[in-house]
Amino acid sequence: MSTAGKQKRERLTDAQLLMTISICIFVFMYAAAMIFMGGGFLKTQQLFDLLNDNAALIIISCALTIVMIGGGINISVGGVIGLTVMAGALFLNAHSDGGPFSIVLTFLLAVGIGLAFGLLQGFLVSHLEIQPFIVTLAGMFLARGLTTMLSVNPVSVSHSDFSALVKTKIQIAFLGYTAKNGNLIPAKLEIGAVTAVAVVILVYLMLRYTKFGRNIYAIGGNQGSALTLGINVRRTRFYSYLISGLLSGLAGFVFLMHKPAGNASVAMRSEMDAIASSIIGGTLLTGGVGNVIGTFFGTMILATIQKIIALSPLNASWWQDMASGAMLGVFILLQSVVLSQRGRGRMGLPSWLKFRKE
């Protein structure tokens, strides 16, 4: 029985603590890169490029965070991106003279594919109570299989309006820099990056200030309790998968705007990156704990490491993989130690297994 003192300020919750750690590490890492690597890292554009290049990953990481808070998992998100990119590319090429309207249709197609996957997976997980890992694994196979059914060969988009959209960038002059020849080069942000940031904010608000969002936390914390508290567990779980499907479709469209080409290996394994981002950001796979702001910084941490390695003499894909793996390992251990040092009974740990301060 806890005899915690009656301090006025509540102590940080686990999610807040883990999120704080990941924000601090991101800031520290980025600052270190600025000091020791200089160059590009001193320009705002570098930060913006991290956003531009990882917009789709940020969005699916949010999708993962939502289902993980609810105690589930969704490993079909990368497959859905691959499918929507391929379907979108083919659709745009088929309507290359369709004008802006065909872009709207492509957007609806992407979101529709995502919703369809969310609908199917949500139904299987919430109503038929099949393990989410298996359901979304089958979903991933299905999405990847459908992608190659659409086209085995890479498809590049040739659609004038869409190309214009791809090139559209938000230019922020005062964050830019002056090139050697004296020209001012403004910092550029892609529409996808703005979308990703908007998604992070919207999902944050949803999880914090809507009944639905709080219900997700409740079912992840204790499903049985949630049921007796009068929460419709099935419906909540169903909608959490539906939203994660929708977000994966949206991520597919964002990906297409960043790299307008379909390919069987688009976003390969990105589901694992998204899971890693969520974990680094302080979401626990056990459910009930997590925060989408943390997830955002989790993605940025992974992206920054990749960038640092790419700009270092070690530039090679296997070094990037190993660095990400090592980073993930460090975070996982850190979380395990931090959480157990707090000595709570919450994680369902029997008391004999907790680490203790003597």
Partner: protein
């Protein structure tokens, strides 16, 4: 009179796979009344409660709330009808704040107004005198406070019927008093309370009426003051008072001056402060004290269940090292844990596997028993302890609480321990099985097994133990034997002489 009735259940029937769990049961609850629902395990109490709260759908019968037909098919329906339940196991979400737990799942609109929620929560907590803060995470509150938060939630929902299902099982006496205060307060506000418990004294302390069920049928409804305690027990058990007389005969045995079996000096663990303790061959002693006094933690240290941090231990005069359960088992100690579900049973494994588990572990990883040997052992103990199970292969999780406890007892008896620790072996168990277990303990003592017996019911301790070790604030504060073994002395020692 009719108008006073807030809940009326008539002719309720419910079967599971052809087995009648409830047969034509009536139940009536009046406004501002605390109504105890009593019965042995398997009498149908929890089935009736679950029908009322929409967890199970009834096969037949009618439920009216304040004269109106209530169609209850889900927990939500029950909530809407004004029926709220607080279970023994806290059914709130540990990862949310107190304020959220108060309001989640029952507010209108899609958005959450945190400020409003926290303000309302502070008011409610204040008015009911509950020591919690709205923004505190629930997992940071004590069990008692969590339970009170659950009640506060129910109260704020303007419930007409409040069901308290074994609310006092994990509370100490002070907390029970606090809870009773809250119950009386609610009663004066006109809430009808259904109180389910195993503690007879508590029933008489707060209840106005008592309804008794047995084998899924209604025995009767009685005014508490007019029903003596002995008669209540007899009605619950459906037997003559013969067995109860037996219960009184169970005498206290004195181990006399036999050899020491177990001695510990300055034993401490991560959960228990250093203490000294010994037990002689064939002795039955007990640790008593309020919940949280350290009685369970002490015996856990003896068994090595928590990490042992110091002290010396002797078995039969020889010093041994006991830092984990495996070493304790090898030294000849057995331990029946306090929380049967969490620490005792392996729910999905069969009765057979559960019975042989400890013996198998003692024989070692590389010496598995043959199937035949297992079946023989299981057969023997199922018969000896009269464990009611469909077969040896039935998963133990599907047995009733009392039978699960017997399976764990069988597990330890099979290892033939010299020293057996039983922590709350009779909690949540029907009176009949309770008696069997008490008799078994005394029989073991006759066979020279030493037993440490822990129970929340002092009466029960006095009946079986020849020596009581009293704990308060995680320290041993007294040891009672012989003539000191009376309820009054024990209480006094527990309370520290202030009462």
């Amino acid at each position: 009179m009719q108008n006073n009735e807030v809940l009326r259940m008539r002719g309720i029937c419910k079967s599971f796979l052809g087995v009648r769990a409830l047969n034509n049961v009536d139940f009536t609850l009046r406004k501002g009344e605390i109504h105890a629902l009593m019965g042995e395990n398997g009498a149908g109490k929890s089935t009736l409660i679950k029908v009322l709260t929409g967890v199970y759908e009834k096969d037949g019968g009618s439920i009216t709330v304040e004269g109106k037909d209530a169609h209850i098919r889900s927990p939500q329906d029950a909530q809407k009808a004004g029926i709220s339940t607080v279970y023994q196991e806290i059914t709130l979400c540990p990862n949310l704040t107190v304020a959220e737990n108060m309001f989640i799942g029952r507010t209108k609109g899609a958005l959450v107004n945190w400020k409003e929620r926290e303000k309302r929560t502070a008011e409610i907590l204040d008015s009911l005198g509950i020591p919690a803060r709205p923004r505190q995470e629930l997992s940071g509150c004590s069990l008692a406070v969590q339970q009170m938060v659950a009640i506060a939630r129910a109260v704020d929902m303007q419930c007409k019927v409040l069901i308290l299902d074994e609310p006092t099982s994990s509370l100490d006496e002070k907390e029970v008093e606090m809870l009773f205060g809250l119950m009386r307060d609610l009663k004066s506000r006109g809430v009808g309370i259904i109180f389910v418990t195993h503690f007879l004294e508590q029933v008489y302390a707060v209840s106005d009426r008592i309804t008794v069920l047995r084998n899924g049928e209604l025995v009767g409804e009685y005014v508490a003051e007019e029903l003596p305690q002995v008669e209540l027990v007899a009605k619950m058990m459906g037997k003559d008072l013969k067995d109860l007389a037996d219960l009184e005969q169970v005498g206290v045995k004195n181990a006399g001056e036999k050899d020491m079996v177990y001695e510990a000096e300055n034993l401490s663990s991560t959960e228990a402060r250093p203490f000294g303790f010994h037990i002689r061959r064939g002795e039955v002693n007990g640790f008593t004290g309020l919940l949280g006094s350290g009685r369970s933690e002490s015996v856990r240290a003896v068994f090595g269940a928590d990490r042992v941090t110091g002290g010396t231990v002797k078995m039969n005069g020889k010093s041994v090292r006991i830092t984990n359960p495996h070493e304790a088992m090898k030294a000849g100690i057995g331990y029946l844990p306090e929380d049967r579900k969490r620490d005792g049973i392996i729910a999905d494994l069969s009765v057979r596997e559960n019975i042989i588990l400890a013996l198998q572990v003692m024989r070692g990883f590389f010496h598995p028993m043959s199937r035949k040997e297992m079946e023989q052992f299981a057969d023997e103990y199922i018969k000896a302890l009269q464990i009611k199970t469909a077969s040896q292969e039935t998963p133990v999780g599907s047995l009733s609480g009392g039978n699960q406890q017997k399976v764990i007892l069988a597990r330890w008896l099979l290892t033939h321990p010299e020293y057996l620790i039983l922590d709350e072996p009779t909690r949540g168990i029907d009176v009949g099985t309770k008696l069997e277990i008490q008799k078994l303990v005394l029989k073991l003592a006759e066979d020279d097994v030493s037993v440490t017996f822990i129970s929340s019911e002092i009466e029960e301790m006095l009946r079986v133990c020849s020596r009581l070790i009293v704990m308060r604030d995680r320290k041993i504060v007294g040891e009672l034997t012989g003539d000191d073994l009376t309820q009054a002395t024990v209480m006094k020692t527990i309370a520290g002489g202030e009462q």
